[in-house]
């Protein structure tokens, strides 16, 4: 990509006419790419060498990841079995809302974009099998959220309680 664009090296390439890319220019661009490739890890080392400890992962991070994985599973299942989309998409939306709410509470903004495809393994097909798989995932999710609610500080207990209860209702909705 870099090589297809004019590179701002500070010197014009007008001598080369309309073609725009001299051999020297291309080499210079390549050198910049190489430098960039080297410079990034160096910067990384510099950060790691500082005295600041890396930020402790928030206790909610695993639940955020679980919500996003559950969202991805429901979206994938809705694609695989379109007849279930009307049931599954609201549940997927709820998982996304849970992830957003937890991130807000953690104080980290949500990365934009579509959900990452979760580690769903081999795609399950067939209406009954899809529902069974999703119910199992929601049950595990409910257990995890309930455990988190029990251990949470007061300011997070209500939100986690709602998430645990929501996951329980998902099991019901998937029955």
């Amino acid at each position: 990509m870099v090589l297809t664009c004019p590179v701002g090296t500070g010197r014009t390439l007008s001598k080369q006419g309309r073609a725009g890319h001299s051999r020297r220019g291309l080499l210079r661009a390549g050198a910049l790419v190489a430098l960039g490739g080297v410079a990034t890890p160096l910067t990384g080392c510099g950060l790691l060498d500082r005295d600041d400890a890396p930020p402790e992962p928030d206790a909610l991070e695993p639940l955020v990841a679980e919500s996003l994985a559950l969202e991805a599973r429901h979206r994938a299942a809705a694609t695989a079995v379109p007849a279930l989309a009307g049931r599954l998409n609201p549940i997927a939306d709820a998982h996304r809302a849970h992830a957003d709410e937890m991130r807000r509470m953690i104080g980290r903004p949500a990365p934009s974009g579509t959900p990452t495809p979760g580690p769903s393994g081999s795609p399950v097909t067939g209406r009954a099998a899809v529902l069974t798989e999703l119910r199992r995932a929601e049950q595990q999710g409910q257990t995890n959220a309930a455990r988190a609610c029990a251990a949470a500080p007061a300011e997070r207990a209500a939100m986690l309680g709602s998430i645990a209860a929501a996951r329980a209702t998902h099991v019901e909705a998937l029955a």
Partner: protein, 165 residues
Amino acid sequence: MSERTERSEGREHMPDRRSVSPAPGPTQVLADALAAEYAAIWAYGVIGVHLADAARTAARAAEAAHRSRRDALLLQLAEGAGQVPADRAGYALPYPVTDRAAALRLAVEIEERTAGHWRAALPHTTGADRNTALAALTDCALRATRWRRTAGVNPVTVPFPGRPA
């Protein structure tokens, strides 16, 4: 739905989860939950008569579940020093409940309302009390989902059960 109706009619008998004082203690939030359970039990008496067959059976089971929560709360609060709220003779309904559709709508709203009171207890409780509150919140949310399905409401779930709208 009901909350809009309630506001417009200026009702104040059904306990409103948003009227909880800013910094209640565990006894206060459990007393609020008890008041919500009283109202739910009373409401199911109205709801049940407009339902038939499986729905009526479900209403009876729901009422029994709320009685069970009520009794546990009465026992627990009686052990403390605080005042145990008494039941009322009756509660004003947010709208007339004269048919199956209104009964199912009220059932959903009663469960969401009661879920809200249990949810409000979570930050003020720890250990076994918090687990009880979460179990009660979850049970209410499950019943609300089942009533939505019975009523043909879609989706049958809400993202944050018990959270004030």
